[in-house]
Symmetry: D2
Subunit: 236 residues, 4 copies
Amino acid sequence: MVMSEKLGYPLIALNFKVYLESIGENALRLAKIAEDVAREYGVSIMVAPPLLDLEKVVKEVDIPVFAQHVDPYSPGGHTGAIVVEDIKAVGAVGSIVNHSERRLLLADIGKILKRLRENGLLSLLCADTVETTRAGAALAPDILAVEPPELIGTGIPVSKAKPEIVVGAVEAVKKINPEVHVLCGAGISTGEDVAKAIELGTEGVLLSSAYVKAKDPRKVLKDMAEGALRSWEKKD
Amino acid sequence: MVMSEKLGYPLIALNFKVYLESIGENALRLAKIAEDVAREYGVSIMVAPPLLDLEKVVKEVDIPVFAQHVDPYSPGGHTGAIVVEDIKAVGAVGSIVNHSERRLLLADIGKILKRLRENGLLSLLCADTVETTRAGAALAPDILAVEPPELIGTGIPVSKAKPEIVVGAVEAVKKINPEVHVLCGAGISTGEDVAKAIELGTEGVLLSSAYVKAKDPRKVLKDMAEGALRSWEKKD
Amino acid sequence: MVMSEKLGYPLIALNFKVYLESIGENALRLAKIAEDVAREYGVSIMVAPPLLDLEKVVKEVDIPVFAQHVDPYSPGGHTGAIVVEDIKAVGAVGSIVNHSERRLLLADIGKILKRLRENGLLSLLCADTVETTRAGAALAPDILAVEPPELIGTGIPVSKAKPEIVVGAVEAVKKINPEVHVLCGAGISTGEDVAKAIELGTEGVLLSSAYVKAKDPRKVLKDMAEGALRSWEKKD
Amino acid sequence: MVMSEKLGYPLIALNFKVYLESIGENALRLAKIAEDVAREYGVSIMVAPPLLDLEKVVKEVDIPVFAQHVDPYSPGGHTGAIVVEDIKAVGAVGSIVNHSERRLLLADIGKILKRLRENGLLSLLCADTVETTRAGAALAPDILAVEPPELIGTGIPVSKAKPEIVVGAVEAVKKINPEVHVLCGAGISTGEDVAKAIELGTEGVLLSSAYVKAKDPRKVLKDMAEGALRSWEKKD
């Protein structure tokens, strides 16, 4: 297991989205808790703060930081765009791509993964079904998270509600491109959900509201770190 | 080789787009020429007229007719949408999906291919690179056309300018899903271009302006039909 | 009051959307009922069938037929697009623009209204608030329908639930561009709703599901025609 | 005339876009030059750095800083979005809205302007024609910049090439909403272009590449500041 700025597995990936609880100084607060828990448990935790708060978080914590989104463009006349080169310039190590709340064109996903790779950054590609997971794996992202959008934010964990999607995704990826790391997301709220996700063959989870909107985010994340480690050890 | 409403191979797929030369009654004119040539040469020709002219063409010709685009929605409250069920209702046999002039979200491509399949219609999926062709193949369309967008409408045939993309696409598809039929497009203008495309391993071509905007579309299409047959016979 | 292919006021505008009840031959069925009721009551009724069924409806009924959507492009290489020139070629007299289910860029709305005008076709622009109604009026569409999207399909009529939006829209339009005809939509289900809409200062209504999905669409439409006439006469 | 964090007129608005010359530390370099020139000439200069570099610039310079883009959403589950509340949290004073490289839906522009206003932030709305300028003015932004997209980045100043658009925009805005400040953009490269823009009735300019990609941005900006002051004084 690796910590600090290098990603390792099992991986708990925290997408902060843009909740009142995660923008501005709150991004820093949530990132520091994640850093503490990562250190305490020796488990790999990645954070994706709001884009406007990305650099601030990178400067203050020593765990891997991702952008939540990146555009397919090269640097140039693209007002309001997020370019790979700027993500690198501010010190983040990768980007989420094609989150269900920011779906992308297939052609653009191809361009983005290529541009991230060429710039030495990591990609975490999201997909919604076994079919699109298979398509996604063919594009060779570093990490692929399968998230049925209908479960996002519900508290009903995909690992329990639709284990067949998780297992199907893991198998599909293995067949197409075994180097891609598979996570699952949507409804992941507890250490048990994380453990179950790993039992089903993933190498971790992607989650948001269960951490960001928790009354006690530290407690929630500790529980998840424990679940991850418990399940990961059984695996070996 | 099959003619009439069933698709066969080698296939010449004619995307009419929405040129002045292809809208309204011109859609019918161009479709009838295609029907004549298909009959004369015994080669499979498919036409994709403008959406507003789709039903009229279906009613008047006896070759396979595709829609140029379809949306991912089920029938319902979707003003201005094109739904699979209506494509079927007006008698077309399939749809182009994700043309470079109408790029789609990966998640929507997944939904559209599934909806076409469930309704017994064919899909002709477009992709722009070897990577997205590979991703596309993983989604199991009936036909996959690789078209580098920078060559579309140029008259510089992809089969000559970028044969490595065509060969790469054919190989990628064979590996991922050998049941998918591969076409190539972009810059295809002559019978020789068609012949070359088939030599490179495709089962036909997708083209538009070279036919639609030709002074003598019949002559152009006859030349292509001859090129297709010549090259196809060598193959066997 | 005008009937037949020319639009008149009060106007009942029927957006068929793409329901199972409105695609294919159903588009024709619903359009013919609308024609009957328009004739019987001498009230102006416009229909907007699914795009794939547009020409068929135009050919069979003698009331004004609109497209549900049109793209900003000139005829050309735009696969899957709906161009103004083709709407005209198949015989429709105008298009809905910017429906809440098919929102458009402000810049594209500008282009579309200009293109419709230059081609002698009518525009029915949709807006969602008093502010965007005011902006819409500045673009000089022929007709402007204000529809709060949160009420669409609910059966809760905007004319009762949010009369201030209807009144505000009518006033805003009068101030900016008094030649624009104002309709209101969202939740319009009965003759009483239509009457109320006209009392609030509009010249008619835009509706969909209350007609399309009615058990007895003829009865619903007759009730609306009566409501329109009753309220319109009081106005004079 | 006002300087420092409050906007004043004449205004030189600098959109950094995401050029190699404007991302990362370059955003800071360009912003500091702008601050120097604003101070030296007592002219109001606003900068809009890349979104990822926004907070860094806000922290280091004492001139008004805008975001290049903002989404219509309230804080919440919107991965990759830019929300008004976070623009405020990092200390920027407003946002460009609907730049020609980031066109927005009319309905979203309405929401964004409302959200900026409610949060005490300024809006700089872009429009491309006299018609959309008129529509834009009806939405009551603080500033409205008319920029014919075909001239952006060409070095052919709109103030010379299409003075009728600038004059038409100024008149249209005065008629609809005289409180809106009008800028013009596209092709603005020299002090003379700025002077001409103000002579035509605007209160300043919006520009990008002429500054960002200049060999000597300081010299370019000084020339513009002089042009602005020269023309502004004549006006009084």
